[in-house]
């Protein structure tokens, strides 16, 4: 298992080039057929179905019987492609939709969350990726097990990270439960069933390997879904195809449109956004009343950065790379691709607002246009003729959170093929994020929370270990699907809760474990429960971010203060508990040194002959 490391497949770029060309070709074909009137109706289904059929084929082609492929994709995912996976894992469908909606409703204050996500990838790339790669553990919890030479540390970390990962998985499923039935034209139950089957098809054949290659394909679908429709809209509105560079020219006009359309009812924009309620556009994109104070903005930015940096699914991307340098490079590519999306999303928000506030829109309350009816059928739009004059002003149009991403091609009057590309992109982002969380939960249960075996013992028996993982993946997918079927919670609330828990438990534990020699298992024992309790307390106090907490502080301001307390608790536990021993410190020195053998591989190599289990996992 540990020798014979195969080289990176030089044709990977070609394969994904073919995939991209094929997907665009399908779009062109559907456009032609749509113009000819040959097809209509559920083109969405065709685009989404083809994207997932191709991703499924890629996953099946990545079937493996070797455990280093199954658990780390053979540690040979190239940095650029790993960057694609990092993009889809960082945003997911919920993150993408939430960031865009925040920009749309909050204007320039929405940049805090968006830049926080970029900051999170930077934090993990600079402060953690290289060390996680050097440790080489198959799960983040196992990283703590190696760092402290303690199975207890692995169990503790495993328990702490299950909560945010499960919340993120549920958030993605909740989003899919809303969007997939519309796209597939089936009931919610059937759509959830289809999602669970998709998870199994993408994960069971090759574990991390099939997931990684499928996620690359899904990331391409996400990028095409975001970019292609926007090019057409940008050409229409600004005569130039690069929306990222042209939307700024509309902002001054937008400001004028917004100022003449009157004031909206003053409602708590952020609370309604978090609650998933439909609401009018109240705040100007720039200038005018702000949604957040400076402290709130900074807190939001910092907490999102810490929360994203602590995401186990993101951090685990470091372990699949060829070297420590490649791990860092992966995160740089991830940041670049996330940056591309961040340059793009404001264009969506500005274009949507521009078309909405354009005086020529002229909507009548008695006959709503197609786009309004389509969004209404998704539960994302309401028109309220408040003054009863029969005409709808922009402030009388109420939009749901996901309306911005899905609605822009509709309000712009684009062909259904473009609309379905956006739908396919959103679903691909959600599924791409979801499979990473499901695999993360399964691996943590299989190797860190397994009462009989620690992660090392689990991996010595390669084939049995993969079999166990496949069984647990199936059970976790079914369980999460079942929970998502039963509960009715808003996806954004779940997302925010996951970010809070991740920021308050995993991030500080990781930073102290790598960057402070004095950190001990006792420190970890103090830190993680403190983070979990403070996170839960804050969410209760602020009703999940819907209300202000004590002394008028918001969720993110209090979370920033709580983050400092969590760091302090880790320090306190380490100071009053037993000091790290010599082996702990030597392990840390090895983790901090990029060169040399991967720690986990060495532990496995040394353990195999001693246990008398030859042959490894191949």
């Amino acid at each position: 298992m540990l020798g014979n490391r195969r080289m990176i497949n030089p044709l990977l770029g070609v394969y994904y080039g073919i995939f991209t060309a094929g997907y665009i070709g399908l779009g062109v074909l559907l456009l032609i057929l749509e113009y000819m009137g040959v097809i209509e109706g559920h083109i969405s289904y065709a685009m989404t179905a083809v994207a997932f059929v191709l991703a499924g084929i890629i996953a099946l082609a990545a079937t493996t019987v070797t455990s280093d492929d199954f658990f780390t994709s053979g540690r040979r995912v190239p940095a650029g492609l790993n960057g694609l996976v990092i993009l889809v894992v960082t945003f997911g469908g919920v993150g993408l939709s939430a960031v865009l909606a925040t920009l749309f409703f909050l204007g320039i204050d929405g940049y805090g969350m968006m830049l926080g996500m970029l900051g999170g990838v930077m934090l993990s790339g600079v402060l953690a990726a290289a060390f996680i790669r050097k440790a080489g553990a198959y799960t983040l919890a196992s990283f703590f097990e190696i760092r402290y030479n303690s199975r207890f540390a692995g169990v503790l970390a495993g328990l702490a990270l299950l909560l945010p990962v499960a919340l993120l998985a549920l958030a993605e499923l909740t989003l899919l439960k809303t969007v997939a039935p519309y796209v597939l034209g089936v009931s919610e139950d059937l759509a959830l069933g289809a999602v669970v089957v998709t998870i199994l098809v993408l994960l069971l054949p090759g574990g991390v390997r099939s997931m990684s290659w499928a996620q690359c394909a899904l990331a391409i679908v996400v990028l095409l879904g975001l970019m292609l429709p926007l090019i057409i809209i940008s050409l229409d509105l600004t005569n130039l195809p690069i929306a990222q560079m042209t939307y700024g020219s509309l902002i001054e006009d937008l400001k004028n449109f917004e100022s003449v359309s009157g004031d909206a009812t003053a409602q708590p924009v952020w609370s309604r956004l978090v609650a998933g309620a439909v609401q009018p556009v109240q705040l100007s994109y720039i200038g005018g009343e702000r949604a957040f104070s400076g402290l709130e903005l900074i807190s939001m930015f910092m907490i999102f950065a810490a929360g994203v940096a602590g995401m186990p699914a993101l951090l685990q991307r470091a372990t699949v790379t060829f070297s420590v340098f490649e791990a860092r490079k992966s995160f740089a590519w991830g940041a670049a691709l996330i940056g591309l999306v961040i340059l793009t999303l404001p264009a969506y928000a500005v274009f949507f607002r521009y078309m909405l506030f354009d005086p020529q829109l002229n909507l009548s309350a008695s006959s709503l246009p197609d786009w309004a009816q389509q969004l209404t059928s998704l539960g994302l739009f309401q028109a309220v003729d408040g003054d009863g004059n029969g005409q709808l002003s922009p402030r009388e149009l109420l939009f749901g959170r996901d309306a911005v991403l899905l609605g822009l091609p509709m309000i712009a009057g684009l062909n259904q093929t473009f609309q379905s590309m956006v739908f396919a992109g959103l679903i691909a982002a959600a599924v791409g994020g979801l499979i990473a969380r499901v695999l993360g939960i399964s691996q943590t249960i299989a190797r860190n929370l397994n009462p009989k075996k620690g992660s090392l013992e689990a991996d010595i028996s390669g084939l049995r270990s993969m079999m166990l993982s496949r069984i647990i993946i199936t059970l976790v997918a079914l369980l999460i699907g079942g929970v998502a079927y039963q509960i009715e919670v808003d996806a954004f609330q779940l997302f925010i809760a996951a970010i809070i828990f991740s920021a308050l438990t995993i991030f500080p534990a990781l930073i102290l474990s790598v960057w402070w020699r004095g950190m001990s298992v006792t420190g970890l024992l103090f830190l993680m429960p403190t983070g979990l309790c403070l996170g839960a307390g804050l969410l209760v106090l602020t009703e999940g971010g819907l209300a202000l907490g004590p002394f008028g502080f918001g969720l993110f301001e209090m979370a920033l203060a709580a983050l400092l307390l969590v760091f302090l608790s880790g320090w306190l536990g380490s100071v009053i508990g037993p000091k790290p021993d010599r082996i702990d410190l030597e392990t840390l020195t090895e983790i901090r040194t990029p060169g040399g053998e991967i720690l986990y591989d060495r532990m496995l190599r040394l353990a195999m002959p001693r246990r008398g289990i030859g042959g490894g996992s191949r």
């Binding site: 320039i108 940049y111 805090g112 830049l115 970029l118 900051g119 930077m122 934090l123 790339g125 600079v126 402060l127 290289a130 990222q244 560079m245 042209t246 700024g248 020219s249 902002i251 001054e252 720039i286 200038g287 702000r290 400076g294 903005l297 900074i298 930015f301 950065a305 070297s323 420590v324 340098f325 860092r328 490079k329 995160f331 740089a332 940041a335 670049a336 940056g339 961040i342 340059l343 404001p346 960057w515 020195t589 901090r592 040194t593 990029p594 060169g595 040399g596 053998e597």
Partner: protein, 85 residues
């Protein structure tokens, strides 16, 4: 690597990481809070606030990330800390 040399290596590595993150995060936070007073100015058709928050900061962060991996690789090479086995 000898421990004394490792200590020096770690000091340089820490300083590099902290410098990059501190610079990027400080700029992002400063711009987020103070964007309002830039609204009156325009560049390439963008209000300066949107241009800086939505374009300059993002591209700067990406550039600094790539610069960091190059610089860190230089440090690793300089200290002989990156020999793969």
């Amino acid at each position: 690597m000898e421990f004394d040399r490792f200590k020096l290596y770690w000091r340089v590595t820490s300083r590099l990481a902290v410098t990059v993150l501190f610079a990027v995060f400080l700029v992002i936070m400063a711009v987020l809070v103070n964007s309002e007073w830039l609204d009156g100015y325009h560049i390439f058709g963008f209000p300066l606030s949107v241009f800086i928050v939505g374009q300059v900061v993002v591209l700067g962060a990406i550039a600094s990330m790539f610069w960091f991996i190059g610089a860190q690789d230089g440090v690793d090479n300089g200290f002989g800390a990156n020999e793969e086995l």
